[in-house]
């Protein structure tokens, strides 16, 4: 492996966790009508999310579209700056990173996106796609770059003759392998995986999930896995968070979460997933209605408009995420 970031990791301050989100908020202004410069409101995409990501773990984030999971990913990749709160990298606020440190951060935290048909430049050859991060971030000679590209293509299981081909010559699963190779080229510590298999065929998903789990073990990677498929998140992640309208409603070890979900939304989400077994019990806790607009989220607990157990208190008071059992946190008044 190359020494791409030995200069990198900021003096690890004691036992500070790899990445930490503290009450992170991201509001997007909404402009409307003629006065386009004057914000008409705010979409509270992420509203007070706290999360600690330890080295070598996989944190899964699940939730329906519009719950803010992709915004969390973008914040971690420094593609968006938080409106409020802090993201700490080994204890240091990422907004205080300067110049070289930002580069180091970007080398350490890489991404794999959902759609391998649009995340790869159709006019570049595979070798150039995979080499691009190396050219941007390192001073490796062209010979070293070539060697490294060969190494990572080997890691993701692509033959060396594929380096001269263009993305359109590959199937979806192989394209996703190219995207993983590109993310791995800088020898990162963290991979942000935003729906990495949802664009792939069922028979290919298992291949990519197995590959991701293999390289995680081999290179001691840390994953933030964003997906709407709960079964996939359960299978891959150690810790799993459930998001609803920009807030984290439940966070627990993933096995515990599926066996012993506490939050009514988590229960509803789990029971809504069709089980591939015709004799399985059908949903026991259906929820009605749809996700309210994040432009004007409900007061108090954001789920109270759809919750079968809503009490008067739920519409008035925002429930806080608190531990109800060791390692199992839930934000719900039912457990106060």
């Amino acid at each position: 492996m190359i020494a791409a970031h030995t200069n990198g990791v900021p003096a690890a301050t004691g036992s500070a966790p790899l990445l930490q989100l503290e009450e992170v908020r991201k509001y997007f202004p909404v402009r409307r009508g003629l006065a386009w410069w004057r914000p008409a409101g705010q979409v509270k995409a992420v509203d007070g999310v706290s999360l600690t990501i330890d080295e070598g773990t996989t944190i899964g984030l699940v939730g329906e579209s519009g719950c803010g999971k992709t915004t969390v990913a973008k914040l971690l990749l420094l593609l968006e700056t938080p409106t409020d709160g802090a993201i700490r990298f080994y204890g240091k606020d990422v907004r205080q990173l300067r110049g070289r440190e930002v580069q180091t951060y970007r080398q350490t935290v890489q991404a794999v996106f959902q759609d391998p048909f649009s995340s790869l430049n159709p006019r570049m050859r595979v070798r150039d796609i995979v080499a691009e991060p190396l050219v941007v971030h390192t001073k490796l000679s062209s010979q070293e770059v070539r060697t490294r590209v060969g190494e990572v293509l080997d890691v993701v299981g692509l033959s060396s003759h594929s380096r001269d081909l263009f993305p359109h010559e590959f199937s979806g699963g192989q394209r996703q392998r190219i995207a993983i190779a590109r993310a791995m080229s800088l020898n990162p510590k963290v991979l942000v995986l935003d729906e990495p298999v949802s664009a792939l065929d069922v028979s290919i998903r298992a291949q990519i999930l197995n590959l991701l789990m293999d390289i995680q073990r081999q290179y001691h990677l840390t994953y933030l896995l964003i997906a709407h498929d709960l079964a996939i998140v359960e299978h891959v992640s150690t810790l799993c968070g459930v998001m609803y309208l920009g807030t984290l409603v439940e966070l627990s070890e993933s096995r515990e979460l599926y066996g012993n979900a506490l939050h009514p939304y988590t229960k509803a989400l789990i029971s809504a997933v069709p089980i591939p077994d015709p004799e399985a019990n059908v949903e026991s806790l259906p929820i009605s209605g749809e996700i309210p607009s994040p432009l004007n989220p409900p007061s108090g607990c954001r789920f109270h408009t759809r919750c079968p157990f809503a009490m008067p208190r739920c519409s008035a008071e925002i429930p806080l995420l608190r531990a109800v059992q060791p390692g199992h946190q839930v934000a719900c008044h039912l457990f106060d």
Binding site: S171, S203, M213, P276, D277
Partner: protein, 336 residues
């Protein structure tokens, strides 16, 4: 058993492209009985959508052409009917729900206008404005659109994804068809909304004794909804059968692989079973069984000769040289 509602025999739909002939649907045969939900499962590009388009004869022209076979529906062969008769059948006897409710609806017409269309095209009783309006409201209420009387004036963009799909369902069931083709209707929806839509579909199906051809790649949805399953691979049917039998004792190696490669909630395993290799290239299909390059049980004969069709379980078939016939009968016919 009574006469099936629709009998598809040896249907062949080819696409003539610049690079060669794509045998998108290559000699498939199956039946759908009245009041039955048949799941058509397969990967993208396996010919599922081409099958449904062939039934309605909406295969994209001029590239696509139905080159052989027959589709018997209510005593008529759809493939020999003149266009005028087909127009009477489309929408009235056989209707369709498409994958993406955003593009399936016309953005410049109100919902009421679009739901009224089938009543205008297929006038059954009274075609006067007020009557049509009442029936539009009635059918919108039936699919669970709240405040249907006022919402008929709204446009598609004023509805959420789940509500739009309900509108599409309303258009499809308005003329009381006998057969409903649903082409991945919930792929664009979130799981909780999907659960609501599936429940609605099941209710409608029972109420009107509809036959449904449900196209999907989601094995969970099939298990929840369908009575029978048809599995396609590379334009051919590889297995058909009762849903319980297909899930408990899949006979074809491809079906077995699909069933094992899906992560299931609450059944965490170390590694997922994976089907090796990539989906087939239609322009370069292997000789013999199209699945052999990915099949763990492939023998020499699979690489040369097309496999025969054997009977499995009750009214099931499997196209394989070496099917897993646990508790099944002997082969019935040679290659079709």
């Amino acid at each position: 058993m009574t006469e099936p509602l629709i009998q598809i025999r040896d249907l062949r739909t080819y696409l003539y492209t610049r690079r060669g002939v794509v045998k998108a649907v290559d000699g498939i045969s199956f039946d759908i009985h009245e009041g039955e939900i048949v799941g058509l499962v397969g990967e993208s590009g396996s010919g599922k959508t081409m099958t449904s388009l062939s039934i309605l004869q909406l295969v994209p022209q001029p590239a696509g052409r139905i080159v052989g076979g027959s589709i018997m529906f209510e005593g008529e062969d759809l493939l020999t009917l003149p266009e005028s008769r087909l127009q009477e059948i489309r929408g009235e006897r056989i209707s369709m729900i498409l994958q993406d409710p955003l593009t399936a609806l016309n953005p410049v017409y109100s919902i009421g206008n679009q739901v009224a269309e089938p009543f205008q095209f297929h006038p059954k009783e009274d075609g006067r404005g007020a009557t049509i309006r009442n029936r539009v409201v009635e059918v919108l209420q039936r699919v669970g659109i709240p405040a249907a009387e006022t919402r008929v004036k709204d446009f598609p963009h004023q509805f959420s994804g789940g509500m739009r799909q309900r509108v599409c369902a309303a258009i499809a069931i308005a003329p009381r068809p006998r057969l409903l083709i649903a082409d991945e209707p919930t792929t664009a929806l979130d799981v909780t909304i999907q659960a609501q839509f599936l429940r609605l579909l099941k209710q409608l199906q029972q109420e009107f004794n509809l036959a449904v051809l449900y196209i999907t790649h989601d094995l969970g949805v099939v298990a929840r909804l369908c009575n029978r399953v048809v599995v396609m691979y590379a334009g051919k049917i590889v297995e058909t059968g009762d849903v319980t039998r297909i899930y408990k004792q899949p006979a074809h190696p491809y079906t077995q692989g699909l069933m094992q490669s899906v992560p299931r909630l609450g059944m965490k395993r170390e590694r997922l079973f994976q089907i090796q290799g990539q989906p087939p290239d239609f322009l370069d299909l292997p000789q013999g069984c199209p699945f052999w390059p990915r099949c763990p049980q492939a023998q020499d004969v699979c690489k040369v000769e097309e496999p025969p069709v054997a009977a499995v379980g009750t009214a099931g078939t499997v196209r394989c040289w070496f099917p897993d016939l646990t508790g099944a009968t002997q082969p019935v016919s040679s290659a079709v």
